[in-house]
């Protein structure tokens, strides 16, 4: 019983991390119908951006206090993630805006590999996993039989708070309205005076910023970063977005928590252990897609005249 509770807690932490990345997949898909396979790598470069900030920019006095180093590393990671995403949108995806859909998809895969190789080549010692500094309170939160590291508690809190803030922004703000309009009917959104480029750029920026936050949180929770982290976690996040219904913010978050839970519970109780935990994720995904192809919260079919 206590093992189950512990794995549930671990699943929620993983789910929070996956949610922050899944939001970027689902938002970009909602606006330009692109599955941005390079988004996992945005998360990865965000983590390396945080680490680089720590390693080369922060003086020892600040490094010694996580209260000071955490916000600065967060800033560094988010800036790197956003800048890379902006370059990617401007020079890779925008020229392909009216190309057949396969072209940007292949481009996304290419960018994904290119970013991994760029970090491997240019980041010192990145050929193997790098230790990530402790940037949050040490120790664990103990709740009866469950024990969650404070860095895991941070993931849960931050992922839920940012998801809610994002939902409120999209539902209430003027730019959020423009994003929803563009997702529902891009031509008519233009007739309202919405500049599609601005909406698309904003979408990439929001997604990349969340992925950058996730990068730092991942580093502090796992205590190391590696070049494959974006690919692995990205697959889970993409699956969460599909499970929740691609284009749906709420769906991506709920899908992510389901995936996190299936991963840890499956890894604990199903044959094969953690080596095969992803198998159960795809089993759940296939079941959902068979019985509800649009995902849990997706719209059945886009209406477009």
């Amino acid at each position: 019983m206590s093992i189950l509770l512990q794995q549930l807690a671990n699943g929620v932490v993983q789910g929070g991390l996956i949610a922050l990345i899944a939001l970027g997949y689902t938002m970009v898909y909602g606006i330009i119908q692109l599955i941005n396979f390079a988004h996992g790598e945005i998360f990865m470069v965000g983590a390396y951006g945080s680490l680089a900030t720590y390693t080369w920019l922060l003086p020892q006095g600040i490094k010694d206090s996580w209260v000071l180093s955490l916000p600065l590393m967060l800033l560094g990671g988010v800036v790197v993630a956003v800048v890379i995403a902006l370059i990617m949108e401007r020079f890779a995806y925008r020229p392909l805006r009216n190309a057949p859909r396969l072209a940007p998809l292949i481009t996304a895969l290419g960018i994904s590999v290119a970013l991994q190789e760029a970090v491997r080549t240019f980041y010192p010692d990145a050929t193997s996993a790098l230790r990530f500094p402790r940037v949050f309170a040490e120790g664990n939160l103990a709740l009866g039989p469950i024990s969650v590291p404070w860095s895991g508690v941070l993931i849960i809190v931050v992922s839920i708070v940012l998801s809610v803030l994002l939902q409120v922004y999209i539902n209430r703000s003027r730019m959020g309205r423009a994003m929803r309009a563009t997702a529902q009917d891009p031509d008519t959104a233009k007739l309202m005076g919405v500049n599609p480029d601005r909406v698309i750029v904003l979408t990439f920026v929001l997604g990349a910023a969340l992925a950058g936050v996730a990068g730092l949180l991942y580093g502090s929770y796992i205590t190391n970063v590696n070049i494959d982290m974006g690919f692995q976690t990205g697959i889970f996040a993409f699956t969460a977005a599909v499970l929740g219904g691609v284009g749906s913010i709420r769906g991506a978050v709920i899908g992510a928590f389901i995936i996190g839970l299936v991963k840890t519970i499956g890894g604990q109780y199903m044959p094969g252990g953690t080596q095969y935990d992803y198998v159960w994720i795809f089993v759940v995904l296939i079941l959902v897609l068979v019985f509800r192809p649009q995902g849990l919260f997706g719209e059945p079919e886009r209406v477009r005249a």
Binding site: R174, R177, A178, Q184, T188, K190, L191, M192, G193, P196
Partner: protein
């Protein structure tokens, strides 16, 4: 003084299909001008090109003498040309209020609330249902919202593509009364209609389009009396 809108020798093609061939017309400020013609004549294509969703193959579109045909759609709205598209194209998963707010998307002034109230005064049913999703409305209500949304940008030129399509006679009457009222309030209107009788009756100037070309033009009441128009478009023979 240049006319508010001038379309000169406009041709538009979808790939190899030439949908609009060498059309010219002008819209003077304060007028209602209509384009009439049967299905597939090229009316919608013309409006979509004016509002920047399509690019001309050749020809010019001038707004107060300034060419606008190379500008992106959002800039053309910003220059004062609003387009209520064929089929209404509301944002179905947004409320009435959000649809109207999107109509006012480019406005920075503080009169938006007041103008929204003006739309609700004009169409009280929209005010009653301001928090309901637009996708659940009847055709008539959707058309009211589509027109209200287009008015929210305070356009100098309001283009309406088949506002009476699919509406009951009573609703059609209401929509045409509203168009007249908008004109009296000073809005210039470019109207596309298959309901030629109603459109010609309130038009200062009208153009008949057939297979992508302008075939007849003149004041609305003259075309209404023209035997060729009566034969082709007013269901008489």
């Amino acid at each position: 003084m240049s006319p508010l809108l001038e379309v000169r020798n406009l041709s538009v093609a979808y790939g190899a299909i030439e949908a609009v061939r060498d059309i010219s017309f002008t819209v003077e400020a304060g007028q209602i001008v209509s384009l009439i013609g049967s299905n597939g004549a090229g009316k919608t294509t013309t409006l979509r090109t004016i509002s920047g969703l399509l690019r001309p193959a050749s020809g010019e579109i001038l707004l107060e003498g300034e060419p606008i045909h190379a500008q992106p759609a959002h800039a053309i709205l910003g220059a004062g040309v609003a387009h209520s598209p064929e089929g209404r194209r509301l944002f179905p998963r947004m409320t009435v209020e959000e649809n109207l707010q999107l109509g006012a998307y480019v406005r920075k002034d503080d009169g938006v609330e007041k103008d929204m109230q003006r739309v609700y005064d004009l169409f009280p049913v929209l005010g009653e249902r301001r928090h309901n999703k637009a996708g659940l409305f009847s055709g008539g209500e959707q058309q009211m919202l589509a027109m209200g949304r287009a008015m929210m940008s305070k356009p100098r030129l309001l283009m309406l593509d088949e506002p009476s399509m699919g509406l009951s006679p009573i609703m059609t009457q209401l929509i045409f009364d509203t168009i007249k009222e908008l004109k009296e309030q000073g809005t210039t209107i470019l109207l596309v209609e298959q309901n030629a009788l109603a459109a010609l009756a309130l038009s200062d100037q009208a153009y008949v389009i057939d297979l992508g070309r302008t075939t007849l033009q003149g004041p609305g009441h003259e075309l209404l009396a023209d035997q060729r128009v009566r034969d082709a478009y007013l269901g008489e023979s």
